[in-house]
Amino acid sequence: MSDACVIHVKVQAEAFDTAAEIEVAKAAGRQVGAVVTFSGVCRDESGRLAALELEHYPGMAEAEIGRIATEAAGRWPVTSLTVIHRHGKLSPGEDIVLVVAASAHRQAAFDAASFLMDFLKTNAPFWKKEHPADGSSGAWVEAKADDDDAASRW
């Protein structure tokens, strides 16, 4: 099922253009009938945060995301999978991550995108540190047991 799947992985500090990525996904296969996107957005946690800082493991971040996407492409009949994950300091409202899954079938696109997000959360080497709005020194975000549960259902 993965032979025709185009996989794009980018790890970058810069913002990305979601609309342009959707167009790339639509162009990747002539039989694309469904495109699902997931955008993860930096929240201000009810005004508590000025920013989030994302540390990552260069090299492994790209490799691990590529492994997760390859696994997804083997499980579902998707024509393209795109993952863009940002690092560095991000303000509330900014995009952190984008996943785009394109397929002939809507359920495959939904499942592949949801699978990618669950495994990005638990397996991609990124760590978030909070920068509080009150100027105090921030804490590292703790991993959630929920996220492990979400990944284990696949």
């Binding site: 080497p125 990124f126 760590w127 540190k129």
Partner: protein, 83 residues
């Protein structure tokens, strides 16, 4: 052997990476954690709860029981919080 640390593991140990010579009896990722904990207070503080420390060998996740033979770089870090 290159060791790399991330997030609060890096902050607590106080360096982002270092080169070490591992003795022959350090065979698994778990052995490495024990050996590092004996290197001083900063290591002990960073690695005091080994079960929350993730280990990657040559940029792939491994379990603590797995061997580290042949590693060019080993990374230690907390559970990931990306996405």
């Amino acid at each position: 052997m290159k060791l790399i640390y991330f997030a609060w593991v890096r902050e607590r140990i106080g360096v982002a990476e270092e080169d070490v010579e591992l003795p022959a009896e350090v065979k698994t990722a778990g052995d490495l954690l024990n050996w590092l904990r004996a290197r001083g207070d900063r290591y002990l503080e960073a690695l005091q709860d080994p079960k929350v420390i993730r280990v990657a060998v040559n940029q792939e996740h491994i379990d603590h029981r797995e061997p580290i033979a042949g590693a060019r770089e080993i990374a230690l870090f907390p559970p990931m919080t990306g996405g």
